[in-house]
């Protein structure tokens, strides 16, 4: 941190940290592959890292649990934990930095001045807006103010995790502090949503590496998520998909199907409605991921996943119109009520008709 970061390139930092050129090139090709760019992009990544000065990153923490940071520093990519952090030129991160207090806060000002329009703000957590933002205080001021000021001169903003992207648990109903996702507070800046609670470590480092090496933001989908990691659902790449198509499901947590690794759809797996890279990249350096360990996906990278009913139902509760019940309960009740009403209506119709007929025959008799 400080003056050296202006001129130093990533490569120089790597070499200074004792990384050999061989493992540097390995890192480049691994990164190219994990970004889905193919081997041709590896030399381009290498060249960018060798020539480009590092882009400073300010990492802010709002209302959050630091699980994103915890995930990030555990990136199993061989070089990440030693290098990507320094490669980032992470000039400010109050959780990780040594400086504290006024000294630390001064860095934000310094970066803002020195790299105006040329630094990245990574936001972990979100700002609460109720009570003028007093539910989250950063250096003696409401976090929302710090966030707005810091983002004002940024090149781009990264929203880490479900908190910054969608609001997560602190924004779950009734959301007492009015915790608000970053993209609803900041405007006029490119914002990259990287949802998940937390996001996969390699996804986080992948996004950062892409932005730093190519000097542009990755291609985003409608919800502002990088397509390369959030372009498909868990379900689309799930290794248990074969059991889903065959109609083989876990019906209980301790049944034969659970032991055989059948599809967890009936146990409420949210894989078919969740966009993330878990089923292809997996977690903890590719060791495992939720479905592999026998539990369904809870859909943590989807908007408002705390308010989307139980984690253990497929046809799950809808909280709308002041009633709570799932589509099947509401539908069956409605169809049943209407069915009964029709039966009653038909009975009354028959009765009225019989009476009318009786009346008609009386009339006819009278005419004769």
């Amino acid at each position: 941190m400080g003056d050296t970061s202006v001129t130093e390139t990533f490569y120089e930092v790597l070499r200074r940290q004792g990384i050999t050129r061989r493992s540097f090139l390995k890192f480049c090709s691994l990164t190219a592959t994990s970004l889905g760019l193919g081997s041709a992009a590896a030399p381009r990544i290498a060249q960018a890292l060798e020539t480009k000065p590092r882009t400073p990153v300010i990492w802010l923490h709002g209302l959050e649990c630091t699980c994103c940071s915890e995930s990030f520093i555990r990136s199993a990519h061989p070089l990440t934990k030693d290098v990507v952090l320094s490669m980032l030129s992470l000039d400010y991160d109050d959780t990780l930095m040594a400086a504290a207090g006024h000294q630390a806060e001064a860095i934000i000002e310094e970066v803002k001045k020195k790299y105006k329009g040329n630094y990245i703000v990574a936001v972990e957590g979100n700002p609460p807006l109720n009570e003028d933002g007093m539910f989250c205080i950063h250096g003696g001021r409401p976090f929302v103010e710090v966030l707005k000021e810091t983002c004002a001169d940024a090149k781009a903003v990264i929203s880490w995790g479900a908190c910054a992207s969608y609001g997560c648990v602190q924004a779950a109903k009734p959301n007492p502090t009015r915790a608000t996702p970053v993209h609803k507070v900041i405007s006029g800046k490119p914002i990259i949503n990287v949802p998940g609670c937390p996001p996969i470590a390699e996804v986080m480092t992948g996004v950062v590496t892409y932005m730093l090496t190519f000097d542009r933001i990755p291609e985003l989908d409608r919800q502002g998520r990088p397509k390369m990691f959030y372009g498909q659902r868990i379900h689309d790449k799930c290794y248990r998909r074969g059991h889903f198509d065959a109609g083989q499901f876990v019906e209980n947590w301790d049944d034969e199907g659970a032991r055989k690794g059948y599809c967890l759809y009936k146990m409420g797996c949210k894989g078919p409605t969740t966009y993330n890279a878990c089923s292809s990249m997996r977690w903890n350096g590719g060791v495992s991921w939720p479905v592999q360990s026998g539990h369904g996906c809870i859909g943590c990278s989807e908007e408002g996943f705390w308010d989307k009913g139980s984690f253990y139902d497929r046809v799950t509760d809808i909280k709308a119109f002041g009633v709570e019940g799932n589509a099947d309960a509401i539908g069956k009740a409605a169809a049943g009520t209407v069915g009964a009403a029709i039966a009653a209506h038909a009975a009354v119709t028959a009765l009225v008709r019989a009476r009318q007929k009786a009346g008609e025959t009386e009339e006819q008799k009278g005419e004769k």
Binding site: G231, G242, G247, Y265, D328, G331
Partner: protein, 234 residues
Amino acid sequence: MLSQQDMLEAEQRGRQVRSIYVYEAPVRLWHWINALAMVVLAVTGYFIGTPLPTQPGEAATHFLMGYIRFAHFAAAYIFAVGLLGRIYWAFVGNRHARQIFMLPITNKHWWSEVFFEVRWYLFLEKHPKKYVGHNPMAQLMMFFFFTILAVGMVFTGFAIYSEGAGLGSWQDSLFGWVIPALGGSMQVHNLHRLGMWIMMTFAIVHIYAAIREDIMSRQSLISTMISGWRMFKD
């Protein structure tokens, strides 16, 4: 048309029998194809959300969910294409073909007839009115619980389908926006299933009303959707 025996009987009872051509062939054909598609969609859709009991044996020897989903998607395409064809026919067909797409809400007389029909169904009117097309209340129901809902089901349905078809597919380009607009994939799945139940409830009411009015209103309804002719019995 009436059989000779019926004509004879009608003459004997001194009643006039008249008939009007209401539903043109494409409308009738669409009605029955659409009805069949709806049955397939509802049954397969029900089992997609709450699947059948687990299949025994190896996964490689089964493809149950695959077949159910295939039937659902195939029927969905027929439903959607049918709806498009039906919308086209609303432009080129006779005026009855437009009824389920437009409500004459500024017409006071129409509203009075809606309330007349409400009273008729509440047994407050002794004698039914006859209509060449839908009765006004049926038209109202048809508009909200079929036309609007069917369009909603097509939009949510293709949005869900686009998730499998993938980013950049035409389903995604046309309908992918529905998912964030309605608050996420899970919400769209839920609403699509709720829509199925509303559609089925509508179908129950529709079938009951058709049979009841066929008997009570002394005009043909069910055979009209087969032959196209509305017959008035007195």
